[in-house]
């Protein structure tokens, strides 16, 4: 199987879907040149009409995507960094997710918002926050955060074909990571987790960059005789409770690893759900491993200290086994 980078796989998904469906187009700041390589080369193939550069106007660009979606198109709105979604927050929370319901089912808003999520490149607080937790709270927005080139491509293609608003988050930290990507077309359904490492002793739930953190931890734990199961949720909303609960039924122990500020995080959600629905299978308290509860610092040393680490995961797993 060809090996591709994470960004190349995303770019391929965009190109394939734009070829397949003429209603699909890309709009955002500097999508022609491609600030992220994920949109690079599309302009050469699809031209000005389908790869649309905009002024720096996140709110209007997001809203324009919504307006285009409810009038028959299938926009992909690139908002670059997750934190820039804060400027478009109103359009996403008040309109994109709610329109169909609010108007009694009269419309649908099939569009994809894309952005880089989280830290890892020492860019400081304004470019380094994870935002998935906000959008998970909103009804009727789907949220995806893949960890591998294969998942990224398959999920983005599904997102573009989905008739609902989807937030597709990718990670700069994973951008250059390579993995197998089949030459043949494939889709990955939204809402399905993937067990990246099977294990018996503890369930580690993760997504995006924390999957690798969890796998790194699992490898070290293996040396200590602990057999960890690492679940990659891939989709955060809707998310695959079934796979997580089945795993906990087997292991009786649960650690959530989430790159997010801790309070009201995805990790909070996963832990709450496990405590509600798998309480009697749990043999130890659930554990959260998240960012430290501070803004994201710039210094690489501090940034690493503020992010969830394999050591943090190992400590949490040991707690559940203590």
């Amino acid at each position: 199987m060809p090996r591709k980078t994470y960004v190349a796989a995303i770019q391929e998904a965009l190109a394939e879907e734009m070829r397949r469906d003429s209603r699909v187009f890309l709009i955002g700041e500097d999508v022609r040149i491609g600030v992220f390589p994920s949109t690079r080369g599309l302009h050469a193939e699809f031209g000005n009409q389908r790869v649309i550069d905009t002024p720096i106007s996140e709110l209007a660009v997001a809203g324009a995507g919504i307006g285009a979606a409810i009038t028959g198109l299938r926009p992909i709105v690139d908002l670059m960094f997750g934190t820039f979604l804060y400027l478009a927050f109103d359009q996403i929370a008040n309109q994109a997710g709610a329109m169909r319901y609010m108007y009694g089912g009269q419309t649908m808003a099939p569009l994809v918002f894309m952005a880089q999520n989280g830290a890892g490149s020492s860019a400081g607080h304004h470019h380094s926050q994870a935002v998935h937790q906000f959008f998970m709270n909103m009804p009727q927005i789907k949220v995806i955060l893949p960890s591998t080139p294969y998942d990224g491509k398959g999920l983005l293609k599904s997102a573009i074909r989905d008739d609902n608003p989807v937030l597709f988050l990718h990670s700069l930290a994973l951008g250059g990571k390579r993995g197998d990507v089949p030459a043949e077309e494939y889709l990955i359904p939204i809402g399905l987790a993937d067990i990246k490492r099977a294990g018996r002793d503890v369930t580690i739930c993760s997504a995006g960059p924390t999957v690798q953190t969890a796998l790194d931890a699992a490898k070290i734990l293996e040396g200590e005789g602990v057999d960890a199961e690492v679940i990659d949720l891939r989709s955060l909303s809707p998310w695959d409770k079934g796979t997580v609960l089945a795993s906990v039924a087997k292991t009786g122990r649960f650690v959530a690893v989430d790159e997010s500020f801790p309070t009201c995080s995805a990790a909070s959600e996963w832990c709450a759900t496990v405590a509600e629905e798998a309480f009697h299978q749990l043999r130890a308290p659930v554990q959260r491993v998240t960012n430290k509860d501070v803004p994201m610092p710039f210094s690489p040393v501090l940034e690493q200290a503020a992010l969830p680490s394999a050591a943090d995961v190992i400590a949490a797993v040991r707690e559940t086994l203590a």
């Binding site: 002024p55 809203g63 919504i66 409810i70 009038t71 008040n94 309109q95 319901y101 108007y103």
Partner: protein, 327 residues
Amino acid sequence: MHHRDISLDVVLDIYTRVLRIRRFEEEVARLFRQGQLPGFVHLYIGEEAVAAGVCAALTNEDTIVSTHRGHGHVIAKGGDIKRMMAELFGKATGYCKGKGGSMHIADFGIGMLGAIGIVGGGLPIAVGAGLSAWYTGSDRVSVCFFGDGAANEGSFHESLNLASTLALPVIFVCENNQYGEFTPAANAMNITDIADRAVAYGIPGVVADGVDALEMHRITRAAVKRARAGGGPTLIEAKTHRRGSHAEGEEAFLGGQTYRDEAETAAAQANDPLLLLHTYVSEQDIAPAERLETLDADITRLVAEAVAAARNSPEPGIETVFEDLWL
């Protein structure tokens, strides 16, 4: 003034739209006072000429996006008064099955893409509808209604600029009724004409007499023509006034305070869009008095029927809370 360039049919059509809005809103005011309507209600009385004049320049395929003060826009675009009234009552037979209410009525069948309760929230969406037309090569135009207050939101700026850079067929209709809630426009901006803001985007900006439905129509027609021909967006500022409260029952908010000059308000109210149009229609002999009376009676009956139907309609079933979700 004689509006030779507007055919008699169109004048009568516009008159009908104004009258439908007026009678509908008068009834809504009554119902609200009687405590029959849940939530907030923002009436359009005094501003009818804007929606009527504008929408008469549009086809069914052209789209509009509306505001918290949206009843007039829906009616002017050809909305069904029964489904509107039922929606205001929150009934299952309403446009949105009771899920939207006064601030969120939509009728996608007639290109009415929805009222929006967030001030300025509709502008970007209207840009998107214009983007669709541009993208597909359709000659559809997209109209966005919004208030003087909304013109101070960031979304106004971003939307007009974005529409301008892509030369999209969007017509921005600012309903300058001089107030945003209780704040006079003069306190919220340091300029007299919002139309002047068009300069910032390199697009035409036109001041219109928003009380004169025929002037509104003429100006919109020109903007529509321009937009269909690929000439890009226009900003139209309609100088208008609202007859009544910001929101019905505003006395409760005010607690005895006032915010409008009474004489000024009275003067503005003397300049009534319906009266103005009625005078013109009568003077120009466009329709005999009886025909106008019949029209009024028909509309009044229609509104009354809508109320009766809304009252007799079922509440939405609890199970519908979980309907109209993900496809």
